[in-house]
């Protein structure tokens, strides 16, 4: 099953997060621990790492604010899962 990529809570005081950039292109294969996206909250920029390895499908546009927990993409375990995500036009 594809792993959800979501906006993580990173401290006690946290408002919505601004998604600044994806740090890998759509369809890139990543390993767990690779930098995945850049977000900003409470005036701090943070690189968020991939929680699992696989193929990245982006599900949310950059430049917008998202609440904690919002799913913004997926990491597919293999090609067929990735293709299914793309075909379904899945977006968050």
């Amino acid at each position: 099953m594809a792993h959800e990529v979501f906006i993580p809570k990173t401290g006690i005081y946290m408002d919505d997060c601004h998604l600044i950039a994806w740090l890998v292109d759509e369809g890139t294969t990543v390993r767990a621990g690779d930098a995945l996206f850049l977000m900003e909250t409470n005036k701090v920029e943070m690189e968020i790492e991939a929680s699992a390895g696989g193929i990245v499908h982006q599900g949310a546009p950059v430049g917008e604010d998202y609440p904690i927990g919002r799913v913004i993409g997926w990491i597919a375990e293999d090609d067929s899962e990735y293709r299914r995500l793309v075909e379904e036009g899945t977006s968050a």
């Binding site: 979501f6 993580p8 809570k9 990173t10 401290g11 006690i12 943070m46 690189e47 929680s51 609440p67 904690i68 927990g69």
Partner: protein, 324 residues
């Protein structure tokens, strides 16, 4: 020292429980449903496990801000801890404490502690209580290298040495206090050397090696039970987890983190048990599945459990003895 096979397998299960608990809590915390701050015990599992394997419910421990591992190793229930982390009325402290204040007096767990070094006076006092009551029990204080900077440690060690209190000071030295390296803030590399100044035996042990921790803890705990007084154990542990969940560790270089990961105590113990023919891959997966199942049920139950209510805000603040 030969450790019985059954004890080894129990310790493996405890270490795996701590690891999976912490991984699950990290994920659930990031999802946003858990209040407060969370510090995980990943990388330190062998210390709480190797020490608490020698303790009964009547022995006491006092813990730190990074207390989930100590709690689990001492026998706190997974469900009760999860409910506490979610702040629910069903939690071990009725949802009033959260991650840094988990306690369970029934089994001798005096509490996690948000005050760095806060365990030291509590455990020393607990050891004094054992001595006054004449029971053959011990008391263990867990604290970090940062905690070793608190003055109370040195006052406590002096008293404990004079009075021969049955207390064991266990310093979990992961080389960091938040973003401050121990090499910058501590006068000596081996903090256990300081015990010598109080006439207390000090030991350094590889805290990623559960066999070594178990062995040195046996010696210190036997000494305390015999009435011969305190010991100091410094366990050098890899800091695999960040300071708190959400800490991006920009102050740390990548080699330091990579080196820490290479010292993974759980993976080391797993391969040692496998090499000794005590553990198969199937057995590991079976243990993992059982723990994950318990975590699934615990998380689901905790999320559905009731919150404390506003009219209960003063409950449990005073003991009944004072008419509270």
């Amino acid at each position: 020292m030969t450790i019985p096979d059954r004890t080894l397998l129990e310790m493996f299960e405890t270490m795996m429980t701590i690891r999976l608990f912490e991984e699950r809590v990290t994920l659930e915390y990031q999802r946003g449903d858990m209040p407060g701050f969370v510090h995980t015990y990943i990388g330190a599992e062998a210390v709480a496990t190797g020490v608490c394997a020698h303790l009964s419910d009547r022995d006491l421990i006092a813990s730190t801000h990074r207390g989930h591992g100590h709690s689990l190793a001492k026998g706190c229930s997974i469900a009760g801890m999860l409910a506490e982390l979610y702040g629910r009325e069903t939690g071990l402290c009725k949802g009033r404490g959260g991650s840094m204040h988990i306690a369970d007096f029934e089994i001798g767990m005096l509490g996690a502690n948000a005050i760095v070094g806060g365990s030291i006076g509590l455990a020393t006092g607990g050891a004094f209580a054992h001595q006054v009551k004449g029971t053959p029990n011990v008391s263990v204080s867990f604290f970090g290298d940062g905690g070793a900077g608190q003055g109370i440690l040195y006052e406590s060690m002096n008293l404990a040495s004079i009075w021969k209190l049955p207390v064991i000071y266990v310093c979990e030295n992961n080389g960091w206090a938040e973003s401050t390296p121990a090499s910058y803030s501590q006068s000596v590399e081996d903090l256990s050397r300081r015990a010598d100044g109080f006439g207390i035996p000090g030991h350094v042990v590889d805290g990623a090696d559960v066999f070594a921790v178990y062995e040195v803890a046996a010696e210190a705990i036997d000494r305390a039970r015999r009435g011969d007084g305190p010991s100091f154990i410094e366990a050098k542990i890899p800091r695999i987890s960040a300071h708190y969940v959400g800490d991006t560790q920009k102050y740390r270089n990548e080699d330091d983190l990579a080196d820490a990961r290479k010292r993974d105590p759980l993976e080391r113990f797993r391969s040692e048990l496998a090499a000794a023919g005590l553990l198969t891959g199937t057995a590991v997966e079976g243990t993992r599945a059982a723990i994950v199942d318990e975590l699934d049920r615990g998380v689901a139950a905790a999320k559905a459990d009731p919150w404390p209510t506003a009219d209960g805000v003063t409950d449990y603040v005073y003991s009944g003895a004072y008419g509270g």
